[in-house]
Amino acid sequence: MDFRLDEEIEFLKTNIRNFVNNEVEKVAMQIEKEDKIPERIIELSKEMGLFGLSIPEEYGGLGIGMVGKCALYEELGKTHNGYTTLIGAHTGIGTVGIVELGNEEQKQKYLPDMASGNKIGAFALTEPEAGSNASNLKTTAVKRGDTYILNGTKHYITNAIEADVFTVMAVTDPSKGAKGITSFIVEKSFPGFQVGAVEEKMGLKGSHSAELIFEDCEVPEENVLGEVGKGYMNALKILANGRAGLAARNLGSCQKLLDMCMEYVQERVQFGVPIIEHQAVAHMVAEIGVEIEALRSFTYRIAWKVDQGEKVIKEAAMLKLYGSEVYNRVADKALQVHGGVGYISDYPIERYYRDARITRIYEGTSEIQKNIIASQLRKEYS
C-alpha cells in the first residue's frame, strides 16, 4: 500500500494552491457580495486549464485518474464554494456524460471547447415534480424525422446561465417509466431553448441555478447521448461518477476550516489564555481533525477503487453521504470555535456554514444515499 500521490499530481496541486491563495481567496468576499465570479478569475482558470480537469488528454484535457482529480478538487475546495461549484459542476456532471457515454463524433465536437472552458457544461435532470424521484420526468422528447422535439421545464440547474452545453434527460417513451428516458446533448443555441428564472439561494453565491424551458426545442438525432431508453441509468452513472469529486471538494473545505480554527484558537485570548487552553475548545478542534482524516482516507480509497475499474455504487453513495455530513458537522463546530466572529459576515466561517448545507441535498439527498446503500447491502446479503 502506498498512500503517496504521484509527483506530477503534487505539482498540479501546488499550482492550484498558489492560484487559489493568490487569486480566488482575494476576491472571495467580492464574490459573496456581488454573486458573481470576476471575469479575471474565469479567464485565469481557463488559461490554467482548470476546465479540462476531467477530460482526456486527446480532447485537450488533463487526462488524469480519479485519485489525481480528487487531489485537485481538494485544493479547489479550500476556497469560495461558489467558484468551486462552477468548476466542479462543469468538470463533474457537466462533462462526464459526454466523456463516458459520448460517441467519437460527439467527443470531437464538444470536448475540446469544454476542456478550454470556451464552452461550459451543465447537467439537467431535476424537474419540479422529479427531485429525489428522478425518474418521474415530465419533459418529453418526441421524434420527428431526424430531430427530437423537447417540451418541458427543468429547475435548479447549476451553471444554467453560464453553460453552452447541457446533458438533458427527457422522456422518449412514457409507457416504459424509467426505461423510457433518454439523454440528449442540448446546446444553448438550439431553437426553442430558453433559460428561465435564476433562483436566489442561501449560499453558493457566484454559482447560479436556474430554470430551463424547452418549447418545441429541436435537438438533432445525432445528439442522443448513449442509447435511447437508457437515460435514467445514464443519469445515475453520471451522478455516481461525480460523488468522489464532491467528497474531495468537501474535504478541502473542511481542511480550510480547520486551518482557520487552528489559527484562531491560538490567537484569541479569553480568561487570560489562548482559547485552545480551554479543554472544551481543544476537544472541538480535535474532533474536527479526526473527521477530516477519516474523510481523507475514505475519499482516496474510493477514488483508487474507481481507478482500478471497480464498481463502487454502494461505496460512492456512502462517500457522498459521509463527506456531506462531515462537512456540515465540521462547519458547525468551526463556527462554534470562532464564537461571535463565526456568525459575522465579514469573516468567511458563516459562508462555509451556509455553503456546506447544499451538499446534503444536491446530487442526491443524504436520505436517498441511504436508500441506495441499504438496497445495495440487501442485494449483497440476499
Binding site: F11, F19, E47, M48
Partner: protein, 256 residues
C-alpha cells in the same frame, strides 16, 4: 532567438525569517522561483512566442532546485539546466557569476535574462557580473523590451523615471517589477513539463578553477532587525513639545 534565463530558488515572500545558530533557517520553508526571475521567464516565453527560437532556464543551485526549474518548464520554457553546487562551501555572487560564465563559454545566445535582484540577498550583482565576465552589454531593471532584428529597445526603471535605451544583441538584461504579469503554469503545461529536457551538471564538470570561484565576501554575523519599540506621544504646550522632540532626537535617537 536563443534565449537563456537565469533563475534562483528563493524563500517564499510570505515566509517569516528565523535565525538558528547564526544562520537563516530553511526548516519548513516554502520555496519559489525568485519573483524577479519569474518576470524574466515570462518575458523570455513572450519573446520566443513572437520571434521563434528556444528558451533555456539555467540555475546554479541544489537538487531541490529541480522543482523551480520544472515550474519554469511548465510555464513554457523549452529546456532547463541545473548546475549543482551543493558540494561547494563558500559561495557568493562572484561564485555564482563565475560558474555561469564558465557555463556560457561554449553556448550561443542572443539574449540572457535575469532578475534585477533576488528576494533573499538582494544584491543585484549576478547579472552585471556575468555580463562583465562574458564581455556583454547589459541593461538592468528593465520594464519593457522590444526586439527588432539585432537591436533591442529597452525601458529602464530609474527611481520612478523611465530611461529608454537601445542596445545590440547579444545582450544581458535584468527584469524589474512591472515588466509583465507572470502566468500561472497551466495544468496541461505541468503534464508536458515532465517530458521536457532538464539536464543536471555538476559545477566541477565545467572548465573552472576552484580558487577562481571562491567567495570574495565573508558573512561575519547574521541578525534580525531590532523589534520596533512602542512610539512616544508628547503632550503639553506646543513650545515645550518642540523642545522635548529636539532633545529626544539628539540624545535618545542620536540622529541630530
Amino acid at each position: 532567438m536563443d534565449i537563456y534565463v537565469l533563475l534562483k530558488r528563493t524563500f517564499d515572500t510570505e515566509e517569516k525569517i528565523v535565525i538558528n545558530e547564526g544562520k537563516v533557517s530553511d526548516e519548513g520553508v516554502d520555496f519559489i522561483i525568485n519573483p524577479y526571475d519569474e518576470f524574466a521567464v515570462e518575458e523570455a516565453i513572450l519573446l520566443r512566442d513572437k520571434h521563434g527560437g528556444e528558451v533555456t532556464v539555467v540555475s546554479v543551485g541544489s537538487e531541490e532546485t529541480e522543482k523551480e526549474l520544472r515550474t519554469a518548464l511548465a510555464m513554457g520554457a523549452d529546456k532547463a539546466v541545473l548546475i549543482n553546487c551543493e558540494d561547494l562551501e563558500a559561495q557568493d555572487q562572484h561564485t555564482t557569476a563565475s560558474i555561469l560564465a564558465a557555463f556560457f563559454q561554449d553556448k550561443d545566445y542572443d539574449l540572457i535574462l535575469g532578475g534585477n535582484v533576488s528576494n533573499d540577498n538582494s544584491t543585484g550583482q549576478v547579472g552585471p557580473r556575468l555580463a562583465e565576465q562574458l564581455g556583454l552589454p547589459y541593461v538592468t531593471m528593465i520594464t519593457n523590451i522590444e526586439v527588432d532584428g539585432n537591436t533591442a529597445t529597452l525601458k529602464r526603471d530609474v527611481e520612478g523615471d523611465t530611461e529608454v535605451i537601445e542596445a545590440t544583441l547579444p545582450l544581458l538584461v535584468t527584469a524589474q517589477q512591472g515588466l509583465n504579469e507572470p502566468r500561472y503554469p497551466s495544468l496541461p503545461g505541468i503534464m508536458k513539463a515532465k517530458r521536457k529536457p532538464l539536464e543536471e551538471i555538476d559545477y566541477d564538470d565545467l572548465d573552472i578553477d576552484e580558487d577562481e570561484i571562491e567567495a570574495k565576501t565573508e558573512t561575519i554575523t547574521t541578525f534580525l532587525p531590532p523589534e520596533k519599540g512602542a512610539g512616544k506621544i508628547l503632550d503639553g504646550e506646543l513650545e515645550v513639545q518642540v523642545k522635548e522632540l529636539v532633545s529626544n532626537l539628539h540624545q535618545e535617537a542620536k540622529i541630530l
